[in-house]
Symmetry: C3
Subunit: 420 residues, 3 copies
């Protein structure tokens, strides 16, 4: 390379290749260890990262819309104390009428009918309402924050609890009776026979694939009469579910959840391998109860009111609705063959192969009987001019230092212990 022009040097860069020099050891012990390690790594990379984890695929998350429609009617008797039957249809027991990725079905209800603005007794269970012992706790124009209204300052006899006195409040009167607990059996226990149609249109935007969850029911009448059955080859694609079945699949019982309500998640999972036929891209439904029963405040309930005008006076009917909140979750992803992730996985696999050499080297150089030989062959020791000397705490003289360097340059046989 002496006297080569710079241009030649740059040119020659393109026509050179560096490859490590290798000690090729023929030894059954280390050979077997090496091959086993390499087998593990290659097995992991090919078997797990590439085949099992589909490392040859590009992925896209599912996107889509879920819409639901409920069917079913219920009948209650004397709910408002009017001695009458009342029919509940979808518009009555689904509140609000539509939600995004959720729906609520009333299963139990406490009705406080015909409330109107006025003065009346506060419920005795409200903190600060029981003035039996001390009428002065009813402070005029102060609200009972966990109660129903602002106090008038009066402490009146309770009509609901004879012998007790409660603060009078300005509120929607009469106030809800806090002593009523959720009726057993539940008022709308028949809700277990209600059905819900779940329509789910999904898309994998990256791959331009669109799918629906209604599969194999071309006939509209057949579709209307089918009901979902988890492990049935045909009816696992039926998009109409009995509420009773959903609750059972979520490992709970309807009579248990219907009284105090609860939250159930319906997961629709689309895990698709688009290297196969697109017909194999199908939804899987799973169900999970999200609220666990606890003593603190179990179940799920909320209140809503309907407002009326009665001869010019605004009145309302208050509903404390217990029920099941169904949360719909869409998840999953699709994979399709793509060269890029495959190359990345192979590349990193090759890089990780180096670990086999590291482990075998330890074995070869420190464990095997022939370690001295292998060390001698593997290593070529070069002593630099600033080499650390044993016992260097006793500082070397400069002369010795130069001497050490001269040695390494002039008398290789002396300071090179191997390879030559």
């Amino acid at each position: 390379m002496k006297m080569a022009s710079l241009l030649g040097r740059v040119f020659s860069l393109f026509f050179e290749y560096d490859t490590p020099r290798i000690v090729h050891i023929r030894s059954k012990k280390v050979g077997v260890i090496n091959r086993l390690l390499q087998l593990c790594i290659v097995g992991y990379v090919i078997g797990y990262a590439i085949i099992y984890q589909k490392g040859y695929q590009d992925f896209d998350n599912v996107q889509g819309a879920i819409t639901t429609k409920l069917k079913g009617v219920a009948q209650t008797f004397n709910l408002s104390g009017d001695g009458k039957n009342r029919t509940w249809d979808v518009n009555d027991y689904v509140v609000p009428p539509q939600e995004n990725n959720a729906f609520f079905v009333t299963t139990n209800v406490i009705v406080t009918p015909r409330q109107q603005m006025g003065l009346c007794e506060e419920d005795i269970n409200v903190v600060g309402a029981n003035c039996t012992d001390d009428p002065s706790i009813c402070v005029k124009d102060q609200p009972l924050m966990t109660g129903d209204g602002y106090m008038t300052g009066e402490c009146i006899n309770s009509s609901r609890y004879p012998g007790f006195k409660v603060c009078q409040v300005q509120a929607w009167c009469p106030t809800e009776n806090g002593n009523l607990s959720a009726p057993r059996p539940p008022v709308i226990g028949v809700a277990e026979n209600f059905t819900v149609l779940i329509k789910n249109n999904i898309e994998f935007p990256k791959f331009g694939i669109k799918r629906k969850n209604i599969i194999g029911f071309i006939d509209s009448s057949e579709l209307k009469t089918c009901r979902f059955i988890r492990n049935d080859p045909k009816y696992k694609f039926c998009p109409i579910f009995y509420l009773h079945d959903i609750v059972e699949y979520a490992d709970t019982t309807f009579s248990d959840i219907a009284v105090k309500g609860g939250v159930i998640q319906i997961l629709i999972t689309w895990d698709c391998n688009l290297d196969h036929a697109v017909d194999t891209c199908i939804p899987v439904y799973s169900f999970r109860r999200l609220d666990t029963n606890d003593t603190a405040s179990p179940g799920y309930n909320f209140r809503f009111a309907r407002y009326f005008l009665d001869n010019g006076t605004e009145i309302r009917t208050l509903f404390k609705a217990y029920g099941i909140k169904f949360i719909l979750t869409l998840q999953g992803q699709a994979g399709k063959f793509n060269l890029k992730p495959l190359i990345i996985n192979i590349g990193s696999g090759l890089a990780i192969l180096g670990i086999a050499t590291v482990i075998c080297d330890i074995f070869v150089l420190y464990v095997l009987k022939g370690k001295a030989l292998y060390k001698e062959k593997k290593y070529l020791e070069v002593v630099g001019e600033d080499a650390y000397q044993r016992g260097e705490t006793a500082r070397l003289l400069p002369g010795e230092h130069i001497n050490g360097r001269r040695e390494s340059l002039d008398i290789p046989g002396l300071n090179m212990k191997s390879g030559d």
Copy 2:
């Protein structure tokens, strides 16, 4: 290294360096292959992983709130059979009045006015309601689950379908006429001229950046009169959208979606490079129809009711509302220079460079004419004491075995084939 004390040995560890010995091959063929492979890998790492994929940036996902406000009025005629005009404003056609990341606009409606609790004929389309042939199917106190109420046991003449008989039910009467299909043209077809203001405040918490989707409209009056235009440099930032335009951008037509309803996703994408000026961090709107037209149960509709008191009797008006459900999705991420991902990318890039050597070695050792020479120079063969012998099936005697080892230690020239 002989006789070195342990301490010296440990010290010397810090003053040593191991570097592989290399065969430097000067060959145009393999040199060109090597450099091309390296170029591909470096190009991939720098060009794709670092520059294109912004491998020098740390990322954070967008978080934020989307709120919407609709404007627009419609007029219907004789909808409840009262022969009167009725004006529909936002409060009438958006149900429920507010949703989280969604809004629904009624475009078509079937009204069943003045329902009240009572006895009446079930709709003939309900499964199990047609008792023309067999009156015994009307079982007293049994519900028609896909219908409207509980049967009384009576089989009565149908007023809607003369000559047919249907079960009588206790229900909200009269029941909805199941034979009515969605009106054409849609009752609130003028909804295409409605506008929606979309306010979107976003944040990249990791970088402390807050942005709004209202960009470049300082003047409140200018903001009020602007309308979104996708490819316009100014009006692509206008946050007020014609529903008609949204539907068109989603590759559908308003007259098509308005009759039976549908679901449209509005995606707001904030992909920001915070290494540039923060002004370049802007939203991009895209639109997609999420329900595909199918014969089974196309479109999107739901029912809701308004409850009234009429001279002390509870009545309700039932609405079957067809319309467009708009789902608002916020997505995107911001990137900002960070040393950590850069180092990781360079590191894995260097590791992957090793692949070039693997491929070139195959070429050099198995393909090139000079392969014998290269193999000789690259490999130093060492025969261990437990080396596998050709024809080892004829087991070696112990003596030979030891002998083989002695050779490898004493007569290197014999069992080392290269490098010396």
Copy 3:
């Protein structure tokens, strides 16, 4: 290896091991650099990737349900112009009564009572309604799209703005007075004393762990009276929050947000290390205001209506509700020891260790004084038959070419510059 049968060759593959030949350099300078670089890389891999980033753990995202229940009452005076007090309880100020992962609390309100279908003046602020100068802009049967109804074609005197004329519209009459701004102080400013109970049941499905956000309050009465305090060891687990506190924790003031409304995100973060006791898996609450105050259309409000029958006539009360929209977000993940990610991290760490060698080689071969010696020892130059020659532009004769190859085979001392 000569004359080995193919079978023997394949067998011997399993009993071989290749390990790179190494130049072992004893030099303090390069040794220190090498060890420091290795220390940095090992420190990064072990300290950051494995320990700090928990590279030894498998992760799972949190899933769960959040339900909320509000408590609190407010009183307004003369809101509908009736000179009367009105009590607002939860059912009045939370609209809609339940939402999925969100709730809205009305803090300010403008009421337009007793609207009914009819003819009346349009609000003068509506674009195109002011016909003072030009009555012809009131076009019969044309809608005022940002207004309240369809024009009758009449231009009438404004009762609200004497001296002005406005178009008459068929609409819900009277129309809302667009000149009213949000009342100060806010009508339901007492909402700051309202409380919300947030129940959160979570699950890490992969690890089968279920947790609740109610921790350490076994007694129901103690739970009812507690209030959340951010940094208190006990009350940071109280699931009942004052709205006032939430707003303050979101770095805003209640009086500021209550007038025009706003959007506040409540984040519940479950970052759990399941290698520790499951009791350490606790929720952390954080709060963030998602709408930033801007001049364009600040705050958050929406309108809703209640529909009544008054002597057979449908009327409605229109509410423009300003308030705080609380968005509940569940996030976090749990980690648990798993061998797989640990192996991957160690593997990629070892691969990255190669970078130290690359950097040290540059130092050793181009910077150090002894670079010529090191280069000589590290490299073995082999000249291939197609080697690039300096000055190759003057093409070599075939004879010289073959000669060059013969040299490399026969006279190694001449073309190999090092290692021997």
